[in-house]
């Protein structure tokens, strides 16, 4: 069980680093916003996994709030790029 958690967490770390590379490289604003969206989704999954590692039920609430509110920033940036804010 411990090795499964190690493998999953190393995959998440690699995903974070690769998304950050696309965030720095991305030629347009859309690429950077896609990188932000991917970072948010990886963050929600990582928070739930860390809640299992710490072993407390109350920590899952943070991931819930993150999943509910994390996409509002992406939507606002998209509406601004569309020119309709």
């Amino acid at each position: 069980m411990t090795y499964i958690l190690y493998i999953a967490m190393s995959f998440l770390i690699l995903g974070l680093i690769i998304s950050a590379i696309r965030f720095v490289k991305g030629p347009t604003a859309g690429d950077r916003t896609v990188a932000l969206d991917t970072l948010t989704t990886i963050g929600v999954a990582g928070l739930v996994l860390l809640a299992y590692v710490f072993g407390r039920f109350i920590y899952v609430d943070v991931a819930l709030v993150y999943a509910v509110l994390g996409f509002i920033g992406v939507i606002v940036i998209a509406r601004y790029l569309e020119g309709a804010l």
Binding site: F54, R56, F57, I58, Y59
Partner: protein, 123 residues
């Protein structure tokens, strides 16, 4: 293993101080007003990280009493800096909002955001 924990503790402190220095550099040397506000918000983030990391206890858990944790008060981290930071985040958001509204007023009056071009302080 113990030295690794010590390393990561110094790593948090140095990262918080570097964050404060980067934000201060941006707020002091940039010419655009929005960039100055961004630098101030980075300074805020560094101060919050420094305060929370002061109250951290190695191997501790969150200071919340839930089923199964009624008698674990000796391994809980310090709740006072967390409460302070919780208030400071909200106040920092309000300060940022007021600063940005002032930026919008200045832009409508002067038609520029460069602080070199905004010379007359008289409205």
């Amino acid at each position: 293993m113990d030295s690794l924990y010590k390393m990561i503790e110094y790593g948090i402190y140095s990262a918080a101080i570097l964050l404060i220095l980067v934000g201060l550099y941006g707020a002091l040397t940039k010419k655009s007003l929005i960039k100055i506000v961004i630098g101030l918000s980075i300074v805020d983030a560094g101060i919050h990280l420094l305060l929370v990391s002061i109250g951290y206890l190695k191997g501790g858990t969150a200071p919340i009493f839930s089923p199964g944790y009624e008698d674990k008060a000796d391994i809980m981290v310090d709740p006072i800096p967390q409460a302070l930071v919780l208030t400071a985040i909200v106040i920092g958001f309000a300060v940022t909002a007021v600063a940005l509204s002032l930026v919008i007023r200045l832009y409508r009056h002067h038609d520029t955001l460069q602080i070199d071009d905004i010379k007359n302080l008289k409205w």
